[in-house]
Subunit: 613 residues, 2 copies
């Protein structure tokens, strides 16, 4: 079903010479400082010591595999003869932290592998404008040395909007592309193919490489009746299959869901019925990034004579960018401010806000907890959650829902009615894609491991051999030639990089483990002043404890703890002048830890400080 | 549709005189120390100051409303003329902590309201043996002064089994009841009515009170084809409706789910197909408390010649109790140990284990992470998650699933096949119950607020007036007479009580908030030795920081912090002898906090210690 791509026959491939940068008219001239670096080691040491290797394409996922979010993939042409390489990067997304990562703001991909190869990066291509595909750019832009970016108009608009929040960063160089465009990016030639998702301007990528053509689907679904969007380019996809595709990197997020994903227009009827029949205000909680849905709700509201209030920072930003670019169209006077909304009858108002995931400071939660400056919930309001639940947010959303209900409002969610369509194709859609593009090799991408395995099962079902499907994890290197796909034994660095406040990557496993321990049982700091001559404790040791036990109710325990400290110090220092500070601290930790555990069955972090006088 | 109960006409009610304890043959004689207390104030002060109130039934949920779990309800007959009361308690369950309660083991109901009324407690009735209904007993037994307990055989067995873990507690007094039994408990007469759930011996309670008959459904579903159980007593329920029911307290957990809940026997076929066709070992992860399911899987395994390994502490305990009481029946030789299982062919082995919620130390997680002593996963194993996901556990279960898949095993869950049936009736079942027992008043119980409101909607749909339905929250007091149901303005204490290690209720909001703060950004302890005469800092201040930033990589920040400390101390103490310790500490907190935030955008807890020398 597949004709391997033969570069010598087609003659279309652009083979990069060592001076290819000058040969590529679309490639921007090197930016200041781009080559201003020490000469670097291009080859991995292990490779040099082995027998000559075959030139190949190396596909290295740096994020998005075994997780939902943080998508980033490196496509690298490795020329072992010339000891050269050419790197294309696809997406640079963020992910939200897990419950056991307190204080962390965001998770981003690990780009250590790229840091000594930045002059080999020919471009950074964004498939679409969701944060799990664009959000990490500001945190790695400088380390990547501000590479040339390729993005469709809305994607570009959202990238630039976000970039405004990072004043210290250099200006971005973005080449705006549209459906059907082709770009030579280094040794690669990329064709951008329109496909459906929950945001306009989603692009699948067809990439010509020296070993053959590979395709990245981007996050996708097939929507034959999309809202403010066109259906995917089915004929183009079919042609790709006919011409022969070496590898498909397919979105796997929906691979565990049976059937077809529903169309945005299918939910139109339900949304419209709810909005039309609502006795008072309608408040819709949703993702700001679901631009199509935003447009849909504005259009329905206009049809039924409702003014629309757009609330929340990210919702306002998304609507602003989308309006400027024409992806959201409103009649004059439709959009009003929250303050103005009180001048209209309740049944003439729709409020569009963020917070469908129960976010603490988003519009819905502020309304639920009386923290919104202009708006107060009241009986008669209808609240629509027009989004699915991100796994892990279930309890928070339940609390939000319960808090909303206390106001006497009506709450609707996608479990009660089809008022949300996901952005990812289900099993039947994924099979359809396989059938259209007929790849020789399959690499499931985007999703938890269970989703990747489910995608593998779909590939097997569609007739691919097990050896032609690579389920890999972040950091693993897939080595592709015209007729083989193998996985390198040695992965590249892929540990999660955490963003916390201004710090990027400075919270590592040690700091995180300490936070977890502090959270579990708190801490118990002991400050003892010790006479370095006699080894005796002077005065009463200071104890500072937080998160362990309520000290005022446990005076006896504190007093016993002081006795133990004194005894341990004096026993350990006996005859030792000067005494061994480390040893004394270790003894305090152990003995005091034992005592506190025995009394409470808790293990606070015991931290002794000795002041020798 | 309802005939209010008229005690004078039926003559069946047991009215308690002031010496009713002696009149009740089933009531145990007072235990040692039972009356050995100071005389107590029976009436609330606020009541005395008002006009005489009408005698009434007070229903006070202490847990289980606005949450799933921690079920406990107080039924109190309040005789204002005699200034007396009679208290019946239903259930005493636990709930698992939320993500923002680090270190907490369990949440239990707040029984402060009962603490000065223990001699008025006539009995504690358990509806069934799940931990969210029985688990809190050990933590409140002594405070409740070891009341008489009423429980069906399996419930009793599970209560006693758990009680064995609490060696210091007194022996329990349990009256074993069975379907159809009646008991006079104080002023109340209770009839126990068999109903279906995911554990045998679940009992709905019909309670005769001086104002009329009220019914608690317990957690329930209707299962017309249950496994090792009988269908619910439909005729008995119908008769209750015919005779007139004043109030129904209905399980609401399934009130948001459309249709009927599926029968345990419906999932039999799917489970059997999976087990029959599995090429190797079958490993089932599930709740130990779903006794019916355990029996079902053992029976299927026996049918297909598989030996069964029972793994995990709680699973072993549940099987042990259920076997002794005859709720689980096995052929001789079916149950083998994990060690023995390696002697049999893989396709002759079923392993029954806990851990379907991704619990860290349960069987499935130990298998997934190579931490099980006798068993190792291998390709060919089939893993069945035969349980639903408790909200909040989604991510943990996803990690578990991904970890399992890395072993090359096959994983099935209830989303892929009907291999799990919940224990709670859905909307159609709940409506059916309303139709059977035809209550005058409805009080939704058991579940999140959204579930209680959904139950209210079902009541409205079935023709109840809105004023006859009370959606209340924990601690609110429902006041019931023959013809009215009102909610008191003043609730009783209902704040969550947290169990952490040996402490019950000693972790309050202060300790918890400290844990959350420590988890977010860690802490920064500063120890400065200050010359009390000159106000100068001696030597270099000690800094102990955890969970904030990796100190070794931030030496400059540490050095700057020391400079700030020194400057703040010396400025604040200038001319002050002796210096104001509190003021200096406040200044350090503020100035150092500002500095650290500016450098990192994090807010560690800054804790200064001053040692005056």
């Amino acid at each position: 079903m597949n004709q391997p791509y033969r570069p010598n026959q087609t003659g279309k491939m652009f083979f990069r010479s060592s001076s290819s940068q000058q040969n590529n008219p679309r490639r921007p001239s090197p930016r200041r400082g781009y080559f201003n670096r020490a000469p670097e080691n291009l080859g991995e040491k292990t490779e040099h010591s082995k027998t000559p290797q075959q030139n190949c394409l190396r596909i290295i996922p740096l994020g998005g595999l075994g997780e939902v979010g943080r998508n980033m993939t490196v496509i690298e042409w490795r020329d072992y003869e010339r000891d050269d390489r050419d790197i294309l990067i696809i997406d640079a997304g963020v992910r939200f932290p897990e419950e056991d990562m307190p204080g962390i703001d965001l998770l981003i991909p690990n780009i250590k592998y790229l840091e000594d190869k930045t002059d080999k990066i020919s471009g950074l291509v964004f498939t679409h404008g969701h944060f799990d595909h664009i959000g990490a750019l500001p945190y790695m832009l400088e380390k990547l040395r501000n590479p040339m970016i390729y993005a469709a108009p809305l994607t570009r608009g959202l990238i630039i909007k976000r970039h405004e929040e990072f004043k210290h960063l250099p200006k971005l160089a973005i080449d705006e592309i549209k459906n059907g465009d082709k770009r030579k990016i280094g040794i690669f030639e990329i064709e951008f193919i329109h496909i459906n998702h929950s945001i306009p301007d989603d692009m699948a990528l067809l990439i010509k490489t020296p070993v053959g053509r590979i395709m990245c689907t981007s996050d996708f679904k097939f929507d034959h009746n999309p809202v403010i969007d066109k259906p995917a380019e089915i004929d183009r996809l079919k042609k790709i299959g006919q011409d022969g595709l070496l590898l498909l990197m397919s979105d796997s997020t929906g691979a565990e869901e049976p059937g077809h994903s529903i169309s945005e227009s299918d939910i139109q009827v339900n949304l419209e019925n709810l909005i039309k029949n609502a006795p008072g205000r309608v408040i819709v909680g949703m993702f700001a990034s679901a631009i199509n849905r935003v447009q849909q709700i504005i259009a329905i509201s206009e049809k039924h004579g409702r003014k629309v209030v757009v609330e929340g920072f990210s919702m306002k930003a998304a609507v602003e960018v989308s309006k400027v670019l024409g992806y959201i169209k409103t009649k004059k006077g439709t959009l009003i401010s929250a303050g103005e909304s009180n001048k209209y009858p309740d049944d003439k108002i729709t409020i569009l806000g963020t917070g469908g995931q129960g976010e603490e400071n988003a519009v819905l939660m502020r309304l639920a907890t009386h923290r919104h400056k202009q708006l107060e919930l009241k009986k008669g309001d209808t609240i629509i959650f027009s989004s699915s639940i991100i796994p892990g947010n279930e309890r928070t959303i339940q609390h939000l829902k319960d808090n909303l209900l206390r106001h006497g409002v009506k709450v609707y969610n996608y479990k009660m009615l089809d008022i949300h369509a996901g952005g990812h194709g289900h099993q039947d859609d994924l099979e359809y894609m396989l059938d259209l593009v007929k790849p020789k090799f399959l690499m499931p991408v985007h999703g938890q491991l269970s989703m990747l395995y489910a995608m593998k099962d779909l590939g097997l079902k569609m007739g691919l051999a097990e050896t032609n499907i690579a389920v890999v994890e972040n950091g693993q290197v897939v080595r592709l030639t015209q007729d083989s796909m193998t996985i390198d034994k040695k992965p590249v660095p892929s540990e999660m990089v955490m963003v916390d406040g201004l710090g990027v990557g400075d919270v590592g496993s040690v700091v995180l483990r300490d936070r977890q321990m502090l959270a579990e049982d708190g801490m118990f700091v002991v400050v003892a002043v010790v006479n370095s001559r006699t080894g005796r404790v002077q005065g009463s040791p200071d104890i500072i404890s937080r998160g362990f036990i309520y000290l005022r109710d446990n005076k006896q325990m504190l007093s016993d703890a002081r006795t133990i400290i004194r005894r341990v110090v004096e026993k350990t220092t006996a005859g030792e002048h000067p005494f061994n500070d480390v040893l004394v601290k270790e003894e305090i930790k152990e003995k005091l830890g034992q005592f506190l555990f025995q009394k409470t069955h808790r293990r606070p972090m015991v931290l002794p400080v000795l002041i020798a006088v």
